[in-house]
């Protein structure tokens, strides 16, 4: 088989020429037919592409996740604390600031 020149960094594995097996059972004839071999080729290509997609999605998710952790999580924590303090102050002020109202 002639070796194909590699283009770029990624190339799919070489396609094997379909072997037609004239002597043998129906099964071997079927598994040697061009449709089946092309189907097998497509399945392995799909697996490769899926693996690459998962890897790059994983990398992007890692970068997004750690950046979110550094930039956004302290902000949420601090804003929550500020809100709690504001509520506490409001409560305290309403307790001490105004004269007690008679409850009807």
């Amino acid at each position: 088989m002639a070796s194909q020149p590699r283009r770029g960094g990624v190339s799919l594995p070489e396609r094997r020429a379909a072997k037609s097996d004239s002597n043998g059972s129906i099964i071997s004839k079927l598994s040697g037919s061009p449709i089946v071999s092309r189907g097998r080729q497509a399945a392995s290509d799909a697996v490769l592409v899926t693996r690459k997609l998962l890897k790059s999605t994983g990398k992007a998710a890692w970068i997004a996740g750690t950046t979110f952790l550094i930039l956004v999580v302290p902000l949420i924590i601090e804003m929550d604390r500020e809100q709690q303090m504001n509520e506490l102050e409001l409560q305290q002020a309403s307790l001490l600031g105004t004269p007690p109202q008679p409850q009807k």
């Binding site: 950046t67 550094i70 930039l71 902000l75 303090m85 409001l90 309403s94 600031g97 109202q101």
Partner: protein
Amino acid sequence: MAAALNVPLTTSTTTVTTIPQMTKGEEKVDYLNLPCPIPYEEIHREALMSLKPELFEGMRFDFTKGLNQKFSLSHSVFMGPMEIPSQSSETIKIPAAHYEFGANFIDPKLMLFGRIMTDGRLNARVKCDLTENLSLKANSQLTNEPHMSHGMVSFDYKGKDYRTQFQLGNGALFGANYIQSVTPHLSFGGEVFWAGQHRKSGIGYAARYNTDKMVATGQVASTGLVALSYVQKVSEKVSLASDFMYNYMSKDVTASFGYDYILRQCRLRGKIDSNGCAAAFLEERLNMGLNFILSAELDHRKKDYKFGFGLTVGE
């Protein structure tokens, strides 16, 4: 019984300050009474404060003790990896620790500031108001290594709506800059410098437009630097800043965005860069005079992650 307690919420109105609205009649600009502009080297001050906090790696401890109303001493300990500038793309870090002792004298007219470290480096700054409008600033850094010490003296003159500055540094470094207010919001400035040792000279221009809510600055220099920045004060506690730097000699571009939240108990600054760098800096007030500092910097491109924590004691 459902009693509707109509409690007047007096606290909420007192914490909100209302900005007085300018009527249309007051918009006539008095060109003879323009405000004094801010000094030329502080033109990017707001953007720098928000976007460039003092990120560090390791542990930091600062203790400031005031002996007098004017005089104070400070002790500071730092332990952590220090980066060595290397030729290759790999950053080399070696663990280092040092102690720094410092003394400050602060007077309305004179300010003296000195720091000395265990590795023999001395840092000194002087700021003196010679007359009401003329002031002298000097700073110097002395080290044990030969040819690594430097010092700079500058004379600042503050006019009615302009400022000029003249600088002298060692190694035959001369610089001068001038900034003038053109309208109550806009000011322009320019600078020239000449470095004798490196035989370089340069000229630069800067402009700054500020209102109550936003500050926009731009600076161009003949060394190839173009820097633009924009800071918007979204509310009393929050301001957002963005910065764009372009060097047309080395074709280096950097854009960064950041936020600055000044809350009652803490100050949180975060920024993200076009170099793939995300950083955050948190200063939290645990008690009166006790501040807890956390710093984090992630560089996704170089896969260099730096985290630091520290404590600052003293007023």
